[in-house]
Symmetry: D2
Subunit: 345 residues, 4 copies
């Protein structure tokens, strides 16, 4: 039995972790923290989580919690996570950080984009970027996982085979992404109120979103040369789902069939990446509630490769990927708790 502690469980990534973990017999959730909701029952905030009836949020007392978990999921706000990760990690515990605090390998890049210093560069140097499709072997042996951001997950999975096989130019890559509203978290903010979002669609964080350096870092590692992308996130009037349409210049005359084969091969055997047949494209509906990333592709008349990837931002884009990482770390079957079909229509 694996004891799991969730720090910051009153947000949507926290509640999604709870939903998924409830179906895993090998895991017991032993503590849930929330500063604002400490003392409240979890079902008061999330009436749908009936499996946790009677369980209450508690405050984040790290010295009390450290003895109650084998694995610590940190779903805290960016920068608040730094210290908690450090604490549990230094006490020999496994940690999966769902914030951005341990994703950027260069503390100065982190400081530039998150406007706060990184106080634990040494621990940072031990963090493994938790994208199992790329780093499974490292995750297996690591005790500190930086769980990827939702946008980077779609962008990296969309570009990995093409960059790895060097069939595209690394300049002028465009990533046009669209996300459901739950990506913004559970907030009292008029900007995210129903009446301000419904019937709307807009770009935000244009040329300035914090996931940009994370995407650049990971694509550069794959390409083995510096990559700087153009990334534009948009807000969809749906709760869940993320779709990225990625554009890159194909090198000399690679055919669509050839590109498709490269993708099929790269993701062969991957339980959570579904490369669609040529002519089919992802729909966020079809991955809703699942850990699947669907990928489709085409080539435009002027030779641009178009890769489209779709995930559920709260699952493969956050909590599902965290559970996938946990499965890898603990030697469970990687699909444990993640085999559900979408609820459609």
């Amino acid at each position: 039995m694996i004891n799991a502690v969730i720090c910051g469980a009153s947000g949507y990534t926290g509640s999604e972790l709870l939903r998924i973990l409830a179906s895993i017999p090998e895991v017991e959730v032993t503590a849930l923290t929330s500063e604002q909701s400490a003392g409240k029952e979890i079902t008061e905030l999330f009436p749908h989580l009936s499996a946790y009836k009677g369980v209450r949020f508690e405050p984040l007392n790290m010295n009390v919690l450290v003895g109650r978990g084998d694995i610590f999921f940190l779903a805290l706000p960016h920068s608040a996570s730094q210290e908690a990760v450090e604490y549990f990690h230094s006490h020999g515990k496994k940690a999966i950080d769902l914030s951005a605090d341990y994703r950027l390998k260069d503390p100065l890049v982190y400081e530039r984009w998150y406007k706060t210093k990184h106080h634990f560069p040494h621990t940072l140097s031990h963090a493994v970027y938790g994208l199992p499709e790329l780093y499974r072997q490292y995750i297996k042996n690591s005790s500190l996982i930086a769980n990827p951001g939702c946008y980077p997950t779609t962008a990296i999975l969309a570009l990995y085979p093409a960059l790895k096989q060097k069939i595209i130019e690394t300049e002028h890559i465009v990533i046009d992404s669209k996300s459901g509203v739950s990506g913004a978290g559970r907030k009292s903010d008029v900007t995210y109120s129903f009446c301000e979002i419904a019937d709307g669609f807009k770009a935000y964080g244009v040329a300035s979103h914090r996931h940009t350096p994370e995407i650049d870092q990971e694509l550069s590692l794959i390409a083995e040369s510096p990559v700087k992308v153009t990334f534009t996130p948009h807000l969809l009037p749906v709760t869940r789902g993320m779709l990225s349409t990625v554009y890159a210049q194909l090198k000399g005359g690679t055919s669509l069939d050839a590109v498709h084969s490269i993708y099929k091969e790269a993701y062969e055997g991957e339980p959570f990446v579904d490369v669609l047949p040529i002519g089919k494209y992802p729909d966020i509906r079809n991955v809703r509630g699942t850990n699947i990333c669907q990928i489709g592709m085409a080539i435009s008349e002027n030779g641009t490769l178009i890769i489209i990837s779709a995930i559920d931002n709260l699952v493969k884009g956050a909590s599902g990927q965290a559970v996938q990482n946990m499965n890898v770390m603990f030697g469970l079957d990687e699909t444990t708790g993640l085999g559900l079909l979408p609820v459609l229509p």
Copy 2:
């Protein structure tokens, strides 16, 4: 008093024309046609159009209709429109065609993309592309207007100032567009049923949408050299609204301020193009029900110009633009019937 006949009035562009024309005292709608709904009252299909209580659809008998109108709006399906336009135009009437039949200047390009021959190339050569911001002077003196497609409207207005001033490369232009469902028309098709669309988001017509040659044609004319874009349309789970995010490579170091000035100047005095201040971006909510095109812009770290344009696909993308063209043709104030504020929230 201008007598207007609407052919093909049982679709959404037809009903939107009726909504707008109802508020123009100078225009009287004298006939509405629909093959499938002939004999039915308009309010049976469109209960909200109470201003037309008692008015019925009639079949498209051109020889009967020709005497009843000064201006003929053709909201017929593609290829069905060819003959009707020819008929009314050859009888000396003014016509505004909302189909694609008279938009592509080269009949062979039309045939390639629409899989049907163009039978009236001579008449086609007289058609003016009805984008008043570019072709106002030609529209004024024309009796045959090819009303632009919705996607091309967003793409052309987004790129016109930059192409005209030659501040961007014409290669590798990417147009990532997102449209509300009403763009697909009023259809009995399970694909567009509520349960199949709600909570979804997907690309369609990837690298193969029929609006591509129209965009290429018009951008090439502006650039005075052949342009071939990469164009990807997506389907938003909203009824109305269209937003295009356009990417192009900036030539040598033009600043955002300089680009912004070029756009402000290009659209100065235009009643329906709203160039937003730097740092602000369009939302389809803010143009819902109006003839406005909002434009915002940014430059990414790697020097890519990002232009975002938003319209209501049924208004500036179809019926509103048609009325704007009518106003220009008849010497009315160009904003007649088009001054409404969006109904928000």
Copy 3:
């Protein structure tokens, strides 16, 4: 020219007043107040209200404002409105109060339901309940209008003819109402965030909603005997629209045709009440953005009369009705500014 001041203009009833008043040439909005947003431009909160570009919110300084308006619209929170109404009214100005403060004729009933004392019972006794279909003559000669609540508007218009003609029992009346989210106002409250509302539907304020005494008061006046209804409001996952399904026991064998005639006659000539033909029922879509109340009816097998009424909660349920009242007070055509067709689909 009528000078209008709007106190509390940063909410949805305020912005809706602005949208409507923008189309009335006889009215000039001379001041807009908001405590929280004082100093900000109106278009910062409501980018769609482009007709008010440059206009800013100011604080509610009553002694400054009193000289700038002929008519004062109070869109302030309940209880905050009491004093403002008193002030402007006592200075000889016309006032239309969109809060609940002057709707309940008995100050003790007000105190019981709103948990606050009414400090101006004398002024209260001068207020006229602003439902023009019932009280047009009183409104014409009044300078203080209590604008009805949205739920009461649907309930009263649905029951008025039947109660007036005494064809239904006054006991066991059931009012099952469903409202769009904008009825809750423009709020930073996680309860009304997009992710908590989308895909949901629930009752709230069951057997305890504050509009209950207002409904009881007005129905009792019509019935000329005490009426106590059962009223259940529900929250629809749409921004606008309100539909009430009302149930009452028909007295001895009145036929549906007879009931329908009573309704047609009662509302003959009313510009904003649309009694649908037998067999047709309202849809909130069809009144969206308009001041119309649609009414349909049926009789169940066991002799229960079912009356269904639908309005736009922000228009006939709030700001549109306020403008209708203003039109009556100032002798304008009652439909001034209120003639728009819904934007559909």
Copy 4:
């Protein structure tokens, strides 16, 4: 291993059965039929059902199918189901009919409401109404289950304890129901297209819906006296979910606490009925994708009992209840395959 055949699997109740059965190791789906889609892969219509990759629809050849199943789920249109049920039942197979064909015990009532004769009154007399909370013992020993309609499920579960304990009058019961669009099935019908449903809300089938006699029949059996209700269904602009607000006159002074205790006791131990604490009310979000029926209650000032029940119309209102019935028939744990938590937000 239980072999299951699904007849009429190309609709939403069919696809929902497939989703649920995919998680039950004791069940193997051996055949899926669809006349219109015979030959197509199931994932072509339902891309989310990846567990059935490669499986194809086949035509309804009963003599071929009869040997391939232990249990036959009939998700055929009303009246088409009559014969199929008869065939499989007469061949000694267990059958669960999701249509209305075997729900009404009186063939004349069936004929009156469904405008078609019942050809198998003898078989009809053997059918058990498949609401396990009321008829578990009969279901256990039956081989022919008439799976309840969605509206009746909400109405009966809402009223059962009160009628059984005779604390309410049986006259003047009002059932005001609201359903998601998936209740209308998977249809090519412009009425259910996204653009005609979004932002709307309306009543339909007022005083004439076919579920009325089913509700009357079952309530009469519970009350042991004839009951005729007033029933009004409405269409919610969501895909899934159903909520009924039920009104009945309380007999002499029963307190809310007493009513609540009666409900708690009546449903004690029921895995799928959740009687909420006093002051809490159901939300369709909280049961989305689950087999749960949530129930809340209140008493209005005039002594009317208000019972609110919510289900997922495709699960407890159709396919989930069918699986629950199968579990009872085959002696499986009743919650097998039905333990999932909702995917929220």
